[in-house]
Amino acid sequence: MTVALEQSTHVESAKPARRSLSLGAIAPYLQATPLALILGAFLLLPILMIAVVSFWDYDFAAMYPDFLTTNYVDTLGSWVTWKTYLNTLKYAGIVWALTLFIGFWVAYFLAFHIRTTVMQMVLFLVCTVPFLTSNIIRMISWIPVLGRNGLVNSTLVQIGLIPKPIEWLLYSEFAVVLAMVHLYTLFMVTPIFNTLMRIDKSLVEAARDAGASGWQILWNVIFPLAKPGMAIGTIFVVTLVMADFSTVQVMSGGQSASVALMMKNQMSLLQYPAAAANAVVLLVLVLLMVASILRIVDIRKEL
């Protein structure tokens, strides 16, 4: 009897299920198709191709489809690679620390010290004005400022503070970090500003009511609540710095290297499979970094 009952319920439930399969079940897939196609064609496919090519063989003139691990062995076995990775990580670390520090204070000032919303938006837009010109232009504009006979050096010499121009202002690691901080700080300001704007002002008052000083409020209330924004900004800045080659090339004058610059050089020598292997390694490294950031900070409430 129970069997019969089960069967009959089965039959009954199967009917509407089949009807919904024809229309209702397919609809969500249809809705997801355009995005899936775009991401597939422009993101997954290229990455797959890079991964495939990274196993190919090559010589000075052409590439040969194959399955070799030599490219990875060469990449990971060379001390130049390790040094370049370390150098890139060093840039990422320094630039991250500086953009986080500057970005937090700019966002904090905008969110808590500017009274009117209109003024907040105006100042925020002012922050984005540099983005109206290209990265390269903004980078190159540092050259007349920092150069041997640039603004800074000539001013300092004229005042008499230094006897001769400082050499390390341009074409140095200092110049690279300066330009990167200049280029990427806004990527830190925006998400932090966004999180700070969402902090209920009565929380600050509640903290003050509980006897917290300005620094205590900052440390115990605002800082923890700004963490998701800082995490998102960190992801932006770290991935941008890890993939940067133009800033390193221009601002260091070829005296410093980054992973992406190394890849660019390999490609200009037509060593595409070697560059592809390098790219896969870099991709894995960056994904690991992003994953660890997401493990530390829960950014879901921000999205």
Partner: protein, 362 residues
């Protein structure tokens, strides 16, 4: 924990730019009182509370708490604690850390402050949720945590900014009973801002009705309801008909006045100069259908609306220059002699039910 402080507000004003939010108010709240600041939005009640709390600077005047003038003290050093409208619980901290926050700011050790916070949560019957975050609690639970956080500083006065406005109607009534019980057991002064006259009547020992940055009346709820001081108070508390006119003379110790375009009415009160404007209040439930006991204690109008409300019937009457005069009659006497819309109805009240209202000089 039973130390309570008298709050003394001495001609305090709050001026924002060109607008005056609070205009020269003076108020004494005796120690251990449950005081409700009542008024429509924008009347300055919240500004007043925030000035007592220290979250708003005082433009002029002084606030004294007990024997200390606290006008220029920061919030935490006034001996007050504030409970915010949306509770303002820290979303990133669990309940224990929320409650222990002020102790942490004072530098109390972790074990000690967590133990104290847990005791406070126990008092509020929230210890079972100690490890949760505020977002995982219902409105009523959040309010209890906010109370625990405010009370852990052992304040002499607790300031509550519309504490019940975020709750649904059912919870509102339950939480307000809890608030009253808590105040009675702690014995400290509570100052509670609300725009609900029902809430104020249910809770307060002292109701302060505010309007336009000024105090219209500060008295016990019964006094406020039975002897409203001004037309605003009578209208805001509800259940009163306010009739305005000009004094025409006096008779038998009563003021006689004319309603423009209508009747001549009388009300008990001090004599006034002839020609002066006058407002009187008549309780809607003290009005009856019938002939007036004496001239000037009633009028005849036309029923414009009849609403059956179960135990009572609400009649709206127009006539004798008075619009929308409300009469609440109990159902038995109404249905003994029913009235339909459009009927002429004689309306009457007793001499002691017509109260002459004062005016704030502006």
């Amino acid at each position: 924990m039973s130390k309570a402080a008298e709050i003394d507000i001495v001609s305090v004003s709050k001026i924002y730019g060109a607008t005056t939010a609070v205009e020269d108010i003076s108020l004494k709240i005796p120690a251990g009182t449950y005081c409700c600041l009542l008024g429509p939005s924008g009347c300055g009640k919240t500004s007043t509370l925030r000035m007592i709390a220290g979250h708003e600077t005082i433009s002029s005047g002084d606030v004294r708490l007990g024997n200390t003038v606290v006008t220029d003290l920061p919030p935490a050093r006034r001996g007050t604690a504030m409970m915010f409208q949306s509770y303002a619980l820290f979303p990133h901290l669990d309940l224990v850390d929320n409650v222990a926050f002020s102790l942490k700011m004072k530098g109390v050790g972790k074990e000690e402050r967590r133990a104290k916070a847990l005791d406070m949560l126990k008092l509020m019957q929230m210890e079972a949720y100690a490890g949760r975050r505020p977002a995982q609690l219902s409105g009523g639970q959040q309010q209890r945590v906010a109370l625990a956080r405010a009370l852990i500083t052992d304040p002499e006065a607790l300031l509550l900014d519309e504490p019940l406005s975020a709750l649904d109607p059912f919870l509102k009534i339950r939480m307000r009973a809890e608030l009253k019980k808590l105040q009675t057991s702690l014995g400290i002064t509570f100052v509670h801002v609300t725009h609900s006259q029902e809430e104020a009547m249910a809770l307060a020992d002292l109701i302060v009705v505010m309007n336009d940055g000024r105090i219209e009346q500060a008295a016990h709820p019964r006094t406020i309801f039975e002897r409203p001081a001004t037309a605003f108070v009578a209208r805001f508390m509800g259940d009163h008909n306010v009739v305005s006119g000009r004094v025409s003379g006096s008779r038998d110790g009563m003021v006689v006045f004319n309603v423009p375009g209508g009747a001549s009415l009388a009300a008990s009160g001090q004599g006034r100069a002839v020609g002066e404007p006058i407002d009187i209040a008549i309780r809607t439930d003290h009005v009856r259908i019938g002939e007036a006991p004496a001239t000037g204690l009633g009028f005849t109008g036309v029923a414009s609306n009849v609403e059956y409300r179960g135990s009572t019937v609400k009649l709206s009457v127009n006539g004798a220059g008075i619009e929308d005069f409300t009469v609440i009659v109990d159902d038995t006497s109404f249905f003994a002699k029913p009235v339909a819309v459009g009927d002429a109805v004689p309306i009457a009240w007793d001499a002691e039910d017509a109260i002459v209202l004062g005016r704030l000089d502006s």
